[in-house]
Amino acid sequence: MAPRPAALSARATPEAAAPPREATAVALLAAGAALCPFLLGWLSVAPNRLLSPRPAELPMTPAVGPALGLFLLGCLAMLLLARRERLLPWAEAAAALALAALLATAGLGARAALEGASPLARAMPAAGTWLSMLLLALAAGSCAAGRGGTPARFLLLSALGAAALLAAGLLDGLSVVREAAARGGEIRAALGQHLALAGGALALALSLAVPLGLLALARPRLEAALMAVANGFQVIPSIALFGLLMGPLAALAAAFPALRGWGVGGIGPAPATLAIAAYLLLPLASALLAGLRVAGPGLLDAARGQGLTSRQVLLRLRIPLGRGVILGGLRVAAVQAVGLATLAALIGGGGLGALVFQGIGQLATDLILLGVLPVVALSLLVDALLAALQSALEVGR
């Protein structure tokens, strides 16, 4: 946890009831989130998939009204709740409420806007709605900033809210939801591939970084070499590294056709997994080494002097003391893996990036969103899970 001297001292002073540091940012963001859709538009409607969308009014039907009211109420609640340190978690929950209400407003509005239009017509959230969602996410993040930065409560509640709205069919009017329904199988397959790419790369990188890191702990030369290589990979642009790996792997597959059966080839998941793993080497190895060094020289001397073997020193001292740092590196690496796997589609590796690049090729916003939204959700989920694990371990010591 990052220490927050300012907030702590504020808590200790008699006027502890003063608004916390977070209040200003949350208030600004909540106000912005409430205003954005009104200023920049709620919805856009396109006559069909090929024509570009135009701004549309939000139809104030009896269904839309309450949703809109709830959205504004959520924003207001967020602003007020954030004025008390104690209530910040509730402000975060209010942000989730506002987000769900905003989705409902857009979904119901889209349904109303399409009423009587041709079945080819499509409605989608306009820039104002998107921006409002972003601001709500940032507001929730600001509420959580003091507690390690991951607005887990917000993420969980808004995921539940969105799922409920989807299940209830309230969002069916939105083109991205229609597109998702049409491509359900494709998305699931892409998600599976994405997870396999990211997970495989993470496993591969771990299987290299852990033994090498342990060996490098007492070997400065090896450490310098490991860090130089890992740093070098970080500098090379990912797209170039993907490209660089294709040639050699294609040659390898040509020389040993048996390898093709394992998926090794110039294109496909193999070069992508390798390249992603190469990027994960640095965060994993450096966090591992830093974590194992949390136990300082004095402590190690005392431990060895009492007759702990180097294995016991590792298992009872270095790892328990450094696990927070090590897990922090794993967290960074896992999130990076999810992001980098998006590029795998460029070289035929599949994953959610395939939808993104298909969408770029057709300039189809919905398709891009269908690729990007799960990537973002997945990174946030991975990040929140590992953050929770990290803080659980830290509390448990």
């Binding site: 540091r21 090379i236 797209i239 999810v338 460029l346 969103l369 990007v372």
Partner: protein, 237 residues
């Protein structure tokens, strides 16, 4: 130090020479990629691509550096402390969204070309600068600030003559990361139509021309490594 600079200049010269030689080395490409009908990249000059790449990434890094530094200074002033939670939230959200996603999302709004890439570049490159500068400014010991106030310096004087110089190494490290990140992200921008050294990679991938992919990849990686080395050398004390 001298020798290192000389060595770096030699490497840069070798890079430029390779760019010049690439379109003229048809024999080499034919030998390396026997199955490909047109292995030589002829659509644009490599120097034009290099120029565009550098303009885009360095321009974005300059804008991002200014934004990042300004935000960091603001956030470390007594009144600006209230911006901190927002900065933290931006950092953690940005981590969850890969740059290519921002480029893709900006594409329908800004259209094909350099604009979506520029947006993503500025967004992502400003983060390391901001983080470095905030950390550097935070790390100035209170006793030093107290002493500076004691000598009668004003706020601006303390910032310019005490805080920024003391924080400079960390800020510079952030700038280096920003530039390297920009160069890397610019290459990804090729998928959204930005002209750069990544263009032959993307074009080659689309047309199944591995020779173009390989050339683009080698030159992009080379540029990034050169830039990294040059910045490390320039910032080494």
């Amino acid at each position: 130090m001298r020798r290192r600079w000389a060595w770096l200049l030699a490497q840069a010269a070798a890079f430029l020479l390779a760019l010049w030689a690439a379109p003229r080395a048809e024999g080499l490409w034919r030998w390396l990629f026997p199955g490909i009908a047109r292995p030589v990249w002829e659509s644009q000059s490599w120097f034009v691509l290099l120029g565009e790449h550098l303009m885009l990434s360095l321009g974005a890094a300059a804008i991002a550096g200014t934004i990042g530094l300004a935000a960091a200074i603001l956030a470390t002033r007594p009144g600006g402390q209230r911006l901190r939670p927002l900065l933290d939230a931006v950092f953690s959200l940005a981590q969850a969204i890969p740059p290519v996603a921002v480029i893709a999302l900006a594409l329908p709004l800004l259209g094909f070309g350099a604009a979506p890439t520029l947006l993503a570049l500025v967004l992502y490159a400003s983060l390391p600068v901001m983080r470095g500068a905030v950390a550097g400014l935070d790390a100035v010991p209170p006793a030093v600030l107290d002493a500076a106030r004691g000598t009668g310096m004003g706020r601006a004087g303390i910032l310019a003559r005490v805080e920024l110089p003391l924080a400079m190494p960390v800020i510079q490290a952030g700038l280096r990361v920003a530039v390297v990140l920009s160069i890397a992200t610019t290459a990804v921008g090729a998928v959204a139509g930005a002209q750069c050294l990544g263009t032959p990679i993307v074009t080659g991938l689309a047309n199944g021309n591995m020779a173009w992919v390989a050339q683009g990849a080698v030159f992009t990686a080379w540029l990034a490594l050169l830039a990294d080395r040059a910045l490390r050398l320039a910032l080494a004390r």
